[in-house]
Point group: C2
Chain length 388, copies 2
């Protein structure tokens, strides 16, 4: 096991009817900015529950934070925070609303010249202050409700960049699995694969003798494979929704990633595809991952075989046959959820390859992955394999 640090002070309130507990979780006399997305919360009753719990509080609303939250929009929110001396941000939404709110929390107190630096210079600058955040999760997927990470898109330059800071860890997150009941099936599918691939990014690397982390990751993968389809078939299956929701949170709250190598190549490449073509985040991951598994097979072989045996019960055949079967099972799982895994399915051709490479080159990125050896050449091969 590698040395590690772990710190996750997010207070979780999980279960039916938990949104009503909001009242006791926000500091009294707080001046709250309530942030949300495109307005679905006004149709499914979540907005009403939140407003009922906030009775008596001083609340200003900031809706319209869309998928892949735009820096340009968020900066309007930052102005609103400053103008109204907001001292608490309550994010009600999925990963995009939560991520966008984290950025606003940091940007509002940013003392540098340009808050974009929080993202563009994340390896150099440090977030030292942020307005406290609470969240009400409306979509199990990204894990943003229990971590300090956020991914933000700049419309102007089509850049999609991430930052991470303890300062934007939510003070609390309310997870009521009943929010799943009214989700469109496509969003449930995106959430399942997002959590699945978050887990694989921290698992499908190389062994470091960390059996707890391995088995925890496998616990999440098995749960997603078993419970995901139940939610797809019946979104009012409370237990399945609860298991999916907790899996998505646990997949990216740090627990499974302590002391083990991490990859994130699939995410790095996927972000570029979303930035270029606007394809849903979860779907871009399914487009990229099979290629990464194939091109980096030798790097990942030991963990791939373990994954194949423990998740898909693949124990027969030569190593190459097993790897073929493992990749096929993984792809079939995504496809069974209605998620396509080839660029041709999205009307995208080979032109995607130089475009993605060019973007990494321009940013001076030469390689990534758990061994730092996923080169730009590898990326071209990965994308090539996934064309059709």
């Amino acid at each position: 096991m590698k040395n590690f640090g772990f710190y996750n002070p997010v207070r979780i309130s999980f279960g039916k009817g938990k949104i009503a507990e909001l009242t006791g979780m926000i500091p009294q006399n707080a001046k709250i900015l309530l942030t949300y997305g495109g307005g679905s919360i006004k149709k499914n009753g979540i907005y009403d529950q939140v407003i009922a719990a906030l009775r008596g509080f001083n609340v200003i609303e900031f809706g319209g934070i869309e998928a892949n939250p735009y820096y340009e929009i968020l900066m309007i929110g930052v102005e609103l925070i400053k103008a109204n001396e907001i001292d608490f941000l309550l994010a009600v939404g999925g990963g995009s609303v939560l991520d966008g709110t984290k950025f606003m929390a940091a940007a509002a107190l940013w003392e540098g010249s340009d808050p974009w630096e929080i993202l563009s210079r994340r390896n150099v600058v440090k977030v030292t202050h942020a307005i406290p955040i609470g969240t009400v999760l409306t979509l199990p997927a990204t894990g943003s409700e229990m971590n300090g990470g956020a991914v933000i898109t700049r419309r102007e330059t089509k850049e999609k960049l991430a930052f991470s800071s303890e300062k934007v860890l939510p003070r609390f997150s309310i997870l009521d699995p009943e929010v799943v009941f009214s989700l469109p099936q496509i969003q449930v599918a995106n959430g399942i694969v997002d959590a699945f691939i978050h887990t694989l990014e921290q698992y499908l690397t190389y062994p470091v003798n960390a059996p707890i982390q391995d088995r925890f990751a496998e616990s999440l993968l098995i749960t997603l494979v078993e419970e995901g389809p139940k939610v797809m078939a019946n979104r009012t299956d409370y237990d399945a929704a609860a298991n999916l929701m907790w899996a998505a949170t646990m997949a990216l709250n740090g627990i499974i990633g302590v002391g083990v190598p991490q990859d994130w190549a699939t995410h790095m490449i996927g972000h570029e595809i979303t930035a270029l073509h606007g394809i849903d985040h979860g779907r871009t991951l399914c487009l990229v991952l099979p290629g990464v598994m194939r091109v980096k097979q030798k790097n990942k072989e030991a963990k791939m075989l373990q994954y194949g045996e423990r998740i898909w019960n693949i124990t027969e055949g030569t190593t190459d046959e097993k790897i073929d079967a493992i990749i096929a099972k993984t792809v079939n799982f995504f496809e069974s959820l209605g998620i396509k895994t080839k660029f041709s399915d999205y009307g995208i051709g080979a032109e995607i390859i130089p475009k993605v490479i060019d973007r990494f080159e321009k940013r001076g990125i030469k390689a990534f992955g758990e061994r730092g050896d996923v080169t730009l050449e590898d990326i071209a091969k990965i994308l090539e394999l996934q064309l059709k």
Copy 2:
């Protein structure tokens, strides 16, 4: 899954050489009480590492906190804290030192008439303030390094009582697996079974459709079964020591217990046996658990069979045959670590039964366990089964 809350803000620093990080983790200008046990840390080099990291800090020492920390001793520490206006407690030790330090942290700021009430009236009174604590763990076992619980013994009355409060959650805990290298084998064995039974208390109940929690618990059990004997055979096997240490922490930091029923009957009974006869905590658990499994078999049958299949690979035979094999495997595991599981092994006879029953009766306790149906009559049966 049941509704739940989860909050664990303990900062973990895990790995080789991490004790040196102490310097940056304690507030500057803190007036520190350094607490420890019988002095083994002065022989194994941990004391020297801690003192080196504390150079320049204002430190007073309070050693001598023994196993099953005594209220009477801890209250002397409380006087020391008050007299010296201590504002940070650094506990260097195993579960007893950590638990004792948690009690001192709360007792020093207790505003009620008698700090014993923190324990004796734990269901009525509430800890609202405590001096901040940091810990350096020297023994993987109790999980105290990442929770807000503590068990304290009163010498005068032979009472062993627990309390739990968010206020005594350590600010940080440093876990360096190399501390295992110098542990006596008996302490390693105690730690393995303590973590194993902590896990079972949160797992061997009844199913509530919580596959993540189930599989996480199973991950810890399998790891303890596989890695525990490696540490027993070679205490300088760093990877095995690291896996044991992380298992013990994860077994009682709340993660595996969210949203599921919990038992704790074995602990309730075990505490009485330690209080009466001074037998090591982990050993009392091994004395009691097999009886609980047998007497509450019907309650626990579904999870027992799952445990048997997933941990011990027991899949053949009738249900009763399987249960027999499961209990036998569990007992054999304890015995293989050198831990005896019958009262006769400790020179204790049937007189233990009325003594334990009497103590629960005097405290007005009529039943406990995950269904609240482990009655005093059941306890008599459990102890009877374990006599010889």
